[in-house]
Subunit: 354 residues, 2 copies
């Protein structure tokens, strides 16, 4: 592996108030860059001062969205040390995303080393207020200055980071969601299982409509039958029904979330029956109406666990667990965030100290 | 409408040999820019020297592919004048694409005026060798420096142009295509009817696989039933079966092509029965095997008309019209290119003189 060169910023930025951090608007002093050129492969890993890209207007990323990304966090443990959560899983998933998008995969070991090196350089940016963390955004863009519809021959892999606040500034509160019947986020055979830009572009309109109607997120149905539940917003989704845990199977249009995987491992360890399978909206609303839907929550890196308190679908409207966070949802949140922030022991070896 | 400011390049580039132009790799001296900021709307239309964009690494276009584009051409007529083909249709379609992607639509009148103004400034770049033209690429990208998954509050609308060669350097020859059974380009409820980057990103892998197997293009099936024909490569597709013309209906996952529309208008004018409807791959291959499939061709701005000579699907393989271009395909090509290059009269009012 090529050595990562480090060019430090001459002047460091002023750090924001850690009590009023939002999400994804403040960036640290440095970024990691790695180039790809056909014939040369990935080369020239380097950490440089955070700054703008200069790209030709014909760069493929602007036209054909040949781009993939990842999202993970660095956490400040009580002893002041900094740790990552399952970064090798992000490296693996980015390689899968690259494969679908015809992008040469970023070497997984280099991905993890780059994340570590960058977070070390900007370790002062990892905040220490409760619930805060350093969000890490690795991404690849196609840079060929060419309008032919083909895989690009050159790419840029970049990692940027920035401190983010507690996802729920006012504590973890259940959200209202509704089942989207018109727009489709992804379909089998498409790119739904990857973190490629196009999936998110396709999802924006439904998300905006949901917000206008007073909902926090959309519950996505599959694109083929329009009846199976896939994700909630940009999170995976899980339900506790009659004591069992059910969650949509990874059928090709659902993102294989790392928080999802971690939850399922915890739940199985705790003795819950866990079913990864097709779930219709009808089954879900029937369960809710008959009182068998005990809890519902989304899982993702940003929010970790997002309890669902109300759900709308056509003319139906149901309240989950009286609109309160359920005890299992709370336990998942406490356990995962406890491990991530180094407050609880990590029997799974999920965390990686810097 | 705000006046378009023009800042001319101090030094003009050397123009390439018009006999060896490819596609999409050479760009003219200038580009058009227009900014959008929430609260201000689209503003500051200007023509400036062609040059790179400076964008924050967190710009939304790099992460969530909130981006749309158009493609059209300027043609050099025999009298030396320059003309466009149905540019208002591109403006209309871009507004539709914007709507789906939650991008504030670029005013259609401004779109057309911007194209005209830019082509006038770079009129010397419109080549005059047979079959050559100036390719025009309008596109919008989301520029918010923010990682939240929401519609951006700022955008850049840009138009770049560049001379392109005859699509078929060696004359118009039928191509081999095969039916893609695994990857899906688009699905109803998604973004298939728009020209957004994500559609193209999703299509690259199948296109590359087709080329590796000696095929020029992929014939896309619908994402729901996986049996209805949608497009060929990044073109619309038409078939002459038993004297009638059939083409996939615009069901939401098919691009409403401007060349497609023009062909259908010509064909109806010429007295052909034209059916826009669902067409299964099975129906198509049955027609081919029973000798009823007389001609097949793709339609798009780049190639205008692309005759299909052979088609593969699973273990089936059929030859269309003995592998030769059909007489109707040729007539469509001659008529459309005749109108576009100003060699034939334009009874439809499709061309717009500069």
């Amino acid at each position: 592996m090529e050595e990562i060169k480090i060019q430090r910023a001459a002047k460091l930025k002023e750090k924001p108030d850690p009590k009023t951090l939002g999400f994804g608007k403040i960036f640290s002093d440095h970024m990691f860059l790695l180039d790809y050129h056909a014939g040369q492969g990935w080369h020239d890993p380097r950490i440089v001062p955070y700054g703008p890209f200069m790209l030709d207007p014909s760069a493929m990323v602007f036209h054909y969205a040949q781009e993939v990304f990842e999202g993970l966090k660095a956490y400040r443990a009580p002893d002041g040390s900094v740790q990552l959560f399952r970064p090798a899983d992000n490296a693996r998933r980015m390689a899968d995303s690259c494969d679908r998008l015809c992008i040469p995969p970023v070497p997984e070991e280099l991905f993890v080393e780059a994340v570590k090196a960058l977070v070390k350089v900007d370790a002062d940016w990892v905040p220490n207020e409760p619930g805060t963390s350093l969000y890490i955004r690795p991404f690849v863009i196609a840079t060929d200055a060419s309008l032919g519809v083909h895989a690009s021959h050159s790419y840029l892999f970049c990692i940027i980071t920035g401190p983010v606040g507690a996802y729920y500034a006012e504590g973890i509160n259940p959200v209202k969601i509704y089942v989207e019947n018109d727009d489709v986020r992804a379909v089998k055979g498409g790119t739904g299982y990857t973190k490629c830009g196009g999936n998110y572009a396709a999802s924006i309109r439904a998300g905006e409509r949901a917000e206008e109607q007073g909902y926090a997120q959309v519950l996505w149905l599959d694109g083929v039958h329009r009846k199976y539940i896939e994700e909630v917003g940009s999170m995976n989704v899980m339900f506790k029904v009659d004591g069992k845990i059910i969650t949509p199977a990874l059928t090709g249009s659902v993102l294989p979330g790392i928080t999802r995987r971690s939850c399922l491992e915890l739940l199985r360890d705790w003795g819950y029956a866990v079913e990864e399978r097709l779930i219709t909206a009808e089954e879900l609303f029937d369960a809710a109406e008959s009182g068998k839907l005990e809890e519902a929550w989304g899982t993702g890196t940003a929010a970790v666990i997002s309890p669902i308190g109300e759900m709308g679908w056509k003319d139906k409207h149901v309240v989950v667990n009286g609109g309160e966070i359920g005890s299992l949802t709370q336990k998942l949140y406490d356990t995962l965030t406890g491990i991530q922030w180094g407050v609880e022991p990590d029997p799974y070896g999920w965390t990686v100290k810097l």
